[in-house]
């Protein structure tokens, strides 16, 4: 928690100082109020005092109340500025940090978690700071000051107030130490209940087919009972809070008057009036003291949640991207478009087994090299090593004759046109999606975008859309079909005019015909770029200059389609098994 506050800046400390000043002023005014009450009490109880005197004291009182509100508003203003400014800056830092992450770190956190961290968690901190500046700072000042004012009057009253405060603290500790941990347990039990329900829903056919409704319901009943039991305990405990608070408030007034009666009874006649006024005023002060502690309790409720949030944000900020930039911006001359793997092995951090083992191959400029293999054979992983989503564990990946680690990432990426397995579109327009990013040259103009879409076989559906190339794309591209999204993401790679194309299983969402036409168009239009294609369909890669067959992370065969059909058993197996399936899907 403290660590995250280090992100506060200089001008914040000025605002915070301002907060402090006005809080002191507010407390002073709040505590001044009963003083005037004292004067009024004296005036009222003294025979023959002037009406105007009472009104004068009254207007001072009113002034105090207004002044106190004014000060509070100013404090609120400063606090809001500090808190909102802080959260905006923190959010930007988190975002900038995540932008520097490689896939490894992103996957480590998961997208959903990163979103919660940069929105909900930061909002938690913002609330705590805003509340904290008002309550945390104010409560102790108010408490100490009010106690100081009380102290001198009579130890009996002070003791009564102390007792009330002690009782309050006891109550709060019960909540903090007994109820709070239970809340965590409740979260877990709710998750459990959720899981059982989800299980029932996802497996609804199985549940019905096995007549297991009773079984599932029994399981739910148990989860439900566990949750209800814990809930009952905490809600019953929490039900104690409000009546107790009420009791403390009324109890303190009663005690002060009760004690006051004895004090005045025993006092000398001269002191009686001032004691009487003290009594009236004291009850106000005592109330202020108790209010201060209640204020503090709010912060105690917020603190655990906020500190969890702070921890989660720090986790992001403390994570260093494993992939570091090199400083080269150009490859070896005459080798533009060459991709080479030299004895490359790869395993995910913390994983026991290698995903890729000892892979070597070379794709010459202008060549098409394809990768095929069963799921989990490592073909996508292999392609991921080229744009440095991950770095090879052993061996070297060379582009244009130079290790990818030595390029600056920007320069490296400028050479690549990457199309992912899952087509990614951003909200915006068709045009903005195709002209996306920066390739170190001019941003593609509309002509180039049109051409790219034409090659990617997207012209027909794009031109049918309302607004055509300016047609809007909703978040995640949900207004396009899978095949359309894939074609647009291919067009995006084409518009970039890269040296090397990386197609990571990018054709599987297309039907056969489009797949073939698209590849033919690509071949015709782009002659000198190198293409690396990961595919599941044999049909997609049949014409490649070289096909590399992967099996459990190792190269099982390499050659043209015809060669492999003769020599490679893994390839044959794939060919026979899947073609039937494909054909079915076409029908």
């Amino acid at each position: 928690m403290v660590k995250i506050l280090k992100h506060l800046e200089k001008k914040d400390s000025l605002l915070i100082l301002g907060c402090l000043v006005f809080i002191v002023m507010q407390v002073w005014l709040d505590l001044k109020l009963p003083d005037y009450m004292y004067e009024i009490t004296m005036l009222v109880q003294t025979e023959g005092s002037q009406m105007s005197d009472i009104l004068l004291q009254g207007s001072y009182m009113l002034l105090c109340a207004v002044g106190s509100m004014g000060a509070a508003i100013i404090v609120g203003y400063f606090a809001a500025k500090v808190a909102a400014g802080f959260s905006v800056r923190l959010r930007a830092k988190v975002f900038e940090k995540t932008m520097s992450f490689s896939m490894e770190e992103i996957n480590g956190f998961s997208t959903a978690s990163l979103i919660t961290r940069s929105t909900n968690d930061i909002t938690q901190i913002q609330l705590l700071i805003a509340m904290g500046l008002q309550a945390i700072v104010k409560a102790p000042i108010l408490a100490v000051w009010a106690i100081a004012k009380i102290m001198g009057k009579s130890w009996q009253w002070t003791a009564a107030t102390g007792l009330a405060v002690a009782f309050l603290i006891l109550l709060l500790s019960i909540v903090i130490f007994i109820a709070m941990p239970k809340f965590k347990i409740i979260q877990g039990l709710t998750d459990n209940l959720n899981r059982v329900t989800r299980e029932n829903l996802t497996g609804i056919r199985v549940v019905r087919a096995y007549n297991a409704e009773g079984y599932q319901e029994a399981k739910f009943e148990k989860a439900n009972e566990d949750l209800t039991k814990t809930n009952l305990f905490t809600t019953r405990l929490m039900a104690l809070m409000q009546p107790s608070m009420g009791l403390i408030m009324s109890g303190i007034s009663l005690s002060i008057y009760w004690i006051g009666a004895y004090l005045i009874y025993n006092a000398a006649a001269v002191d009686r009036l001032s004691l009487f006024s003290d009594m009236v005023v004291f009850s106000s002060y005592a109330m202020q003291v108790i209010m201060a502690f209640m204020l503090l309790s709010i912060v105690f409720f917020m603190l655990p949640r906020a500190s969890v949030s702070a921890k989660r944000i720090n986790e992001v900020l403390d994570t260093e991207a494993k992939i570091l930039d090199g400083n080269l911006t150009a490859g070896k001359e005459g080798l533009a478009g060459e991709v080479e793997f030299k004895n490359v092995s790869f395993k995910y951090p913390d994983a026991a087994d290698y995903i890729l083992q000892n892979i070597s191959f070379k794709a010459h400029p202008g060549e098409t090299v394809a990768f095929i293999g069963s799921t989990g054979s490592g073909k996508s992983t292999l392609v991921n090593l080229i744009p440095r989503f991950y770095d090879a564990s052993d061996g070297e990946v060379l582009i244009d004759g130079i290790n990818v680690k030595e390029y600056s990432q920007e320069a490296l990426h400028n050479k690549l046109g990457y199309v992912s397995q899952r087509a990614v579109l951003f909200s915006g327009t068709v045009l903005s999606n195709i002209a996306y990013g920066d390739n170190g040259e001019d941003i593609p103009d509309e002509e180039m975008v049109k051409k790219a879409i034409e090659i990617a076989q997207g012209q027909e559906f794009v031109e049918k859309m309302e607004g055509q190339y300016e047609a809007s794309v909703s978040q995640g591209g949900t207004n396009f079909s899978g095949g359309q999204k894939q074609r647009l993401s291919i067009a995006r790679a084409i518009a970039r005019r890269p040296e090397i194309y990386l197609f990571d299983d990018s054709f599987s969402a297309l039907d056969y015909k489009t797949d073939r036409v698209l590849r033919n168009a690509l071949k015709k239009e782009i002659q000198n770029a190198t293409m690396l294609i990961v595919a599941q369909r044999i049909g997609t890669i049949k014409d490649a200059d070289r096909i590399i067959v992967l099996d459990q992370g190792k190269v099982a065969g390499s050659g043209t389609h015809e060669e492999l059909m003769q020599t490679c058993s893994v390839y044959q197996e794939i060919a026979y098994s899947q073609l039937t399936k494909e054909e079915l899907e076409v029908g």
Binding site: I40, M51, G58, M61, S68, A72, I73, A80, V88, R91, F95, M99, S102, T111, S113, I115, N120, T123, Q126, Q134, L193, T202, I204, R205, V206, A209, Y210, N211, E217, N224, T235, R236, A239, P243, S253, L254, Y257, W258, A261, I264, N384, H413, Y418, V424, F426, S427, G437, N439, G440, Q475, G476, R492, A575, S577, L579, T580, E583, L584, E585, G587
Partner: protein, 610 residues
């Protein structure tokens, strides 16, 4: 705080499927009265005790209200004692009574809270249980149009909301109203001029407050909007992180982020400021009332109209009077969201259930396995018929393969056979008995089934295989695992058959599928359905699973839906479906000879290869 976020933490978009986070707190008071009536109906059992709680709450509130009157009397007695002899006994007498009243008030209030907490938990537990049972009583049709996330959010978010608000609001409503009216009455009774000034000062304060609330609303909405946009941007940037990186789109992404973030700052500090105003304002209303009461009171005392004790009493009255006002505002909003949440819950509970079958007399203990489809017609909705006039006869023990392109209606056939859906027309018969005459339970007992998506639950391997069939012995489980070739693997696990299958369990999709096959095997029913059981695994695993399934099929009438034609070549009967009808049937060789659609399907693959 105004922005009530449901922290779903890590599990925001819950694993896949068509789920979208449902804003449970999105107050949508469709029909408050109706929803409330239903909710009250749910509490019927507890009505008496709720009434008791409310009466206790009211009594407690009244005790608190008369308190100031006692204090006032005490003050006056003390005040009289300033000049003359003090009547200490009378004061102590009053103080003791008041202490007892406060004590009782505390007790009553707590009992009220305790009862409400208990009732709320019991009611919500029942609601949850009812939803859970309801899930299993709904026709599958319902789940075609509803997302899981939606149902899940009803079980947790909505019911939690009901629990929270019901627990507090009802009690608070009663005590607040009592306090408010009570203190008003007491004030007027004590002194009407003072009462008037107290009420007026509060009205001024609250008028001011509602002005601010209405102003701040705009900033809150704006803040939520910008936050939503920011969320969207972060989501798509992270989800497409690979693309952003390779296309050097970071700069662009950062720019958009900063634009939204800057706009957010503007609305964020404003709404933060506005919500921060509430507290000082409430304080001021309290203080303002206090000052007014003091001044007016002092003037009246000076005139001799009232005694000083009245001021003391009013100082407390003003607090008792303003406090319930803000509470009432709170109750009003929370009741609205309770209504919206209960409306969603009851909407689900009102959904039409599967037909009751307790009057069905016919029962098949076991079956030989003859199956007949007689002129079956079916559509998921009336205007979209997917199966037209389907007729087929299958003899016991045969292996039937259903092939055809996606969307041809293959799985639909299975859905009808299991009576997950009811046919629109025609009849399906097992051993000559129409399945519409049998209970669903009975039909399900005659089948075992393996589906494409391997469904396992969090439990041990043994539990997953036995699954709700208590009669299955441990030996049978082991035998089944041996038969599917899983036994050896299970034994290598540290806990063997008692290994819990959860997120951490490292099972391949093939192994998971083998477990579901073992599950089907121990059921040992006369009929078997395999619905694309191998399409999610690679070729090598498929061979393994195929072997297991062949064992499973022995002696059973089996229906196999397959993508890969190689797996069903040996079927006794292959039905080729297209557009909801069987266009060809026969065994593999016969169909090839026919040179029809199947022939085309089977051969075109080779054209592709060479």
């Amino acid at each position: 705080m105004a922005n009530k976020e449901v922290t779903n933490d890590e599990k925001m978009p819950p694993q896949g499927k068509k789920e979208k986070p449902m804003g449970a707190s999105g107050a949508r008071p469709t029909n408050i009265k109706k929803a409330m009536k239903q909710l009250i109906g749910y509490c019927r059992k507890y009505l008496a005790i709720i009434l008791l709680a409310l009466i206790l709450g009211m009594t407690g509130a009244i005790f608190n209200i008369v308190g100031p009157d006692f204090l006032s009397q005490m003050t006056d007695l003390i005040g009289e004692g300033l000049m003359a002899e003090m009547d200490l006994d009378a004061i102590v007498h009053l103080a003791v009574i008041l202490a007892i009243l406060y004590g009782l008030g505390f007790l009553f209030n707590y009992i009220q809270g305790f009862i409400m907490a208990t009732v709320t938990q019991r009611v919500t537990k029942r609601l949850r249980a009812d939803i859970s049972t309801k899930i299993n009583r709904l026709p599958l049709k319902y789940f075609d149009k509803t997302s899981y996330g939606d149902i899940l959010s009803r079980v947790t978010n909505d019911i939690d909301l009901i629990a929270q608000t019901m627990n507090q609001s009802l009690g608070m409503l009663v005590t607040s109203v009592t306090m408010f009216l009570g203190s008003l009455v007491m004030m007027i009774y004590t002194n009407w001029i003072m009462a008037l000034s107290a009420v007026l000062s509060t009205i001024v304060g609250f008028g001011f407050m509602s002005l601010i609330i209405s102003k701040s609303q705009r900033h809150f909405i704006q803040q939520q909007k910008e936050l939503g946009k920011l969320n969207g941007h972060i989501e798509e940037t992270h989800a497409g992180h690979d693309v952003v990186k390779v296309y050097n789109g970071e700069k662009e992404a950062k720019k958009i982020f900063h634009d939204i973030n800057t706009r957010l700052y503007d609305s964020a500090w404003k709404s933060q400021f506005m919500s921060g105003l509430m507290m000082p304002l409430m304080m001021f209303i309290g203080n303002f009332g206090y000052v007014v009461v003091c001044i007016v009171g002092a003037l009246l005392v000076h005139n001799g109209t009232i005694s000083f004790g009245v001021i003391v009493a009013f100082m407390i009255y003003i607090r008792l009077f303003t406090q319930p006002l803000s509470q009432l505002a709170q109750v009003a909003t929370s009741l609205q969201s309770t209504a919206a949440a209960s409306e969603r819950v009851f909407e689900f509970l009102r959904e039409e259930e599967l037909a009751d079958e307790s009057d069905k007399k016919e029962k098949l203990k076991t079956a030989k396995g003859d199956v007949e489809f007689r002129n079956v017609r079916f559509g998921y909705s009336e205007d979209k018929i997917v199966i037209n006039n389907f007729t087929a006869t299958i003899k016991a023990g045969q292996k039937v393969a259903i092939v055809g392109p996606t969307g041809a209606g293959k799985t639909t056939l299975v859905n009808l056979l299991m009576r997950f859906y009811e046919v629109n027309d025609g009849e399906i018969l097992i051993d000559g008995v129409p399945i519409s005459k049998l209970t669903r339970d009975n039909i399900h007992n005659l089948f075992c089934m393996v589906l494409q998506d391997t469904w396992l639950f969090e439990g041990t391997i043994r539990e997953n295989i036995k699954y709700s069939k208590d009669y299955v012995t441990d030996e049978q489980v082991e035998e089944a695992c041996k038969a599917v070739g899983l036994h050896h693997f299970v034994q290598t696990l540290p806990q063997g058959y008692d290994t819990v299958l959860d997120d951490k369990a490292n099972l391949s999709s093939g192994q998971k599928q083998l477990i579901t096959i073992a599950r089907a095997m121990v059921e040992n029913a006369p009929l078997l359905i395999l619905d694309e059981a191998t399409s999610s695994v690679d070729t090598r695993t498929e061979a393994l699973i195929q072997k297991a399934m062949d064992k499973l099929m022995v002696g059973k009438t089996s229906f196999v839906i397959a993508h890969r034609l190689s797996t069903i070549k040996n079927a006794d009967l292959i039905m080729v479906m297209k557009d909801g009808d069987i266009i060809e049937s026969g065994n593999h060789d016969e169909l090839l000879k026919k040179k029809g659609f199947y022939f085309e399907l089977y051969n075109s693959q080779f054209e592709h290869v060479s």
